[in-house]
């Protein structure tokens, strides 16, 4: 809708403030609009900064683990895993097999939980409220399983340095298998029919917020956002950590099925398809969990890595989650720097909206499709 020259219009400066129903956290966007068309946006972050990296310089390695939970709080085990594996790399520690399998299972379940929430809130941002509740019903089942395993529903501190905190019993494994059987064909198909292939949803998300391949790579996008633009890069396959190289699974990539490659629908669909692949991995892991110990008890009590530094990256639910740990030989880390994937993902917003053609309602769709968590952006 181009502005005509003979009609005098005024620009409006809107503040999509830190408190807003659909900014996925405390995120402020100052928007300059011409009616409904956006001319420019300016994002402001930092409202959830909690000095994680500074705190990590003052507490011991074991005590940092609960703090890592609280960064990307929707997929907390993956944060734990990244940090724990980084420290284990520094210490050259061997983690028992059973612990590795348990880590894979819970991390993939966490990824499913995070994607369920992303998909549910995305529907709600666009006005479809029912898929949100259905997604949360399934997420609730997962949270119940997590509560049985480690006692907490959101901030687990389960994956510790040297293994995992508690053992998994047969009953819990059965619960996980029941969940997989319940979730995989039927519920996911129902989500597809209710939301993914809904004509109005496609009209809202297809051809909206297109991120071309080169732009995605330039801005350091990772995770489902990068894969939605057609780049087949998944750390679990390209640089396997933990024991991911023992599992076979696909890496879904956006292909412009309902519009252009790299639009919001592609990113959303990559997440839905990733959930299927995660169930695949969990099933394979369930069939192969060995007996053994779940933690290297001696090493996990005294964590004193030798001097050195390591950068360890894992595939978080939102992208490449990296931990740069510098140790000076004591029990307290010298520096822990986190590369939060949402921080890089969200940096693309301002560039996407400055080209014109983005409407106000599209900003909501774009932010939702980038799936940011402010805990990760601000740390």
């Amino acid at each position: 809708m181009p502005a005509t020259d003979d009609i005098r219009t005024e620009e409006m400066l809107l503040n999509m403030g830190p408190q807003h129903p659909s900014t996925h956290g405390v995120f402020r966007v100052v928007i300059r609009t011409d009616g409904e068309m956006i001319l420019e946006t300016e994002s402001h972050i930092g409202y959830l900064h909690r000095c994680f990296e500074k705190i990590a310089e003052n507490v011991s390695y074991l005590q940092v683990v609960p703090y890592t939970d609280r960064m990307d709080y929707l997929a907390a085990m993956i944060n734990n895993l990244g940090f724990a594996e980084g420290v284990e790399k520094l210490m050259q520690l061997e983690v028992p097999e059973r612990a590795q399998y348990i880590r894979i299972i819970v991390c993939e379940l966490n990824r499913i939980a995070s994607h369920l929430l992303a998909f549910g809130t995305y529907g709600m941002d666009l006005g479809a409220i029912t898929p949100f509740l259905h997604a949360f019903r399934d997420r609730e089942k997962l949270l119940k399983i997590f509560e049985k395993i480690c006692g907490q529903r959101l901030n687990y501190s389960y994956v510790r340095i040297g293994g995992v905190a508690f053992d998994i019993t047969e009953e819990m494994l059965r619960d996980i298998e029941d969940f997989c059987n319940y979730f995989e064909p039927e519920v996911l198909d129902e989500f597809d029919r209710l939301l993914s292939y809904n004509g109005i949803f496609i009209a809202r998300t297809a051809n909206v917020g297109v991120i071309p391949k080169e732009m995605a790579i330039d801005f350091g996008l990772t995770g489902p956002n990068l894969r939605g633009s057609g780049v087949k890069r998944d750390l679990r396959k390209d640089e396997p950590y933990c024991i991911y190289d023992r599992f076979t699974f696909d890496v879904p990539v956006g292909s412009g099925e309902n519009g252009t490659t790299g639009d919001c629908w592609d990113r959303y669909m990559v997440r839905i398809r990733e959930m299927r692949q995660s169930i695949n991995i969990v099933r394979q892991a369930l069939a192969a969990v060995p007996d053994g110990s779940f933690i290297d008890k001696k090493a996990s009590k005294t964590v004193k890595p030798p001097k050195g530094e390591v950068y360890h990256k894992v595939e978080g639910a939102r992208g490449e989650l990296g931990f740069h740990i510098v140790s000076d030989g004591t029990a307290i880390p010298y520096r822990v720097k986190t590369r939060g994937p949402s921080f890089c993902n969200i940096s693309i917003l301002d560039s996407m909206t400055q080209d014109g053609g983005v409407m106000l309602a599209d900003v909501v769709a774009i932010i939702g499709s980038l799936d940011i968590v402010m805990g990760e952006v601000d740390r």
């Binding site: 507490v59 011991s60 074991l62 005590q63 940092v64 683990v65 609960p66 703090y67 939970d69 029912t130 019903r137 609730e140 119940k144 509560e147 049985k148 395993i149 480690c150 006692g151 907490q152 901030n155 501190s157 905190a165 508690f166 129902e190 029919r193 209710l194 939301l195 292939y197 809904n198 004509g199 109005i200 496609i202 009209a203 009590k301």
Partner: protein, 197 residues
């Protein structure tokens, strides 16, 4: 846009809408007639079962505690406060007898605690646990500190007892020092006496 594309658009959207509506109708009818699908319960009258490993409010098995301060040290947010006297000889007149220690204060501040569960692991006699209770609320910040020795809110009387215990501790230490000094003096005097003899 061609005519066929126009109509196929309309019918495509219409069809997907009808499919979506059939799903919600299915949920509606089945939840009404067959009581399926409903996952919410009428809390607090009905509640889901609390799993065994649930990390809630702490409880302490006092008689096992050896006052090693390991749980307090590992706590990432420093919310456990422990005070007492080492030694099981009943040095403190009142207080809670553990193994090898008499405790005067063992509180957890729930405005700070993050329920991470790190305190359970390093405890040598495994006496501190996070229990199934989760409903701990109040309107006053001062009432959010729980005294694990009395299994109740940390009151002002408890604070007075702790203060008394600290003073008593200092007094006992001075007393012990004085006794030791007197004993040494007596021994020196006795040795002097012997030398004279």
């Amino acid at each position: 846009m061609s005519v066929t594309r126009y109509f196929s658009n309309i019918f495509g959207v219409g069809k997907s809408i009808v499919i979506g509506m059939s799903i919600t109708m299915k949920y509606f009818v089945e939840s009404l007639l067959f009581k399926k699908h409903t996952v919410t319960v009428q809390y607090p009258r009905e509640m889901d079962a609390i799993p065994e490993r649930h990390r809630g409010i702490h409880y302490l098995e006092t008689e096992k505690c050896i006052m090693c301060w390991k749980c307090s040290d590992i706590c990432p947010v420093d919310c456990i406060y422990i005070e007492g006297v080492r030694g099981a000889d009943g040095v403190l007149k009142d207080g809670w007898r553990g193994k090898k220690a008499t405790l005067s204060k063992f509180t957890v501040d729930y405005t700070v605690c993050i329920f991470c569960g790190l305190c359970e692991e390093p405890c040598p006699p495994l006496c501190i646990h996070l229990g199934p209770e989760f409903d701990y609320h109040s309107t006053d910040r001062k009432l959010m500190e729980k005294n694990l020795l009395t299994d109740a809110v940390y009151t002002e009387d408890d604070e007075k007892f702790v203060q008394w215990a600290r003073d008593e501790n200092v007094r006992l230490i001075d007393e012990t020092k004085a006794k030791k000094a007197a004993a040494r003096a007596a021994k020196a005097a006795a040795a002097e006496q012997e030398k004279d003899d």
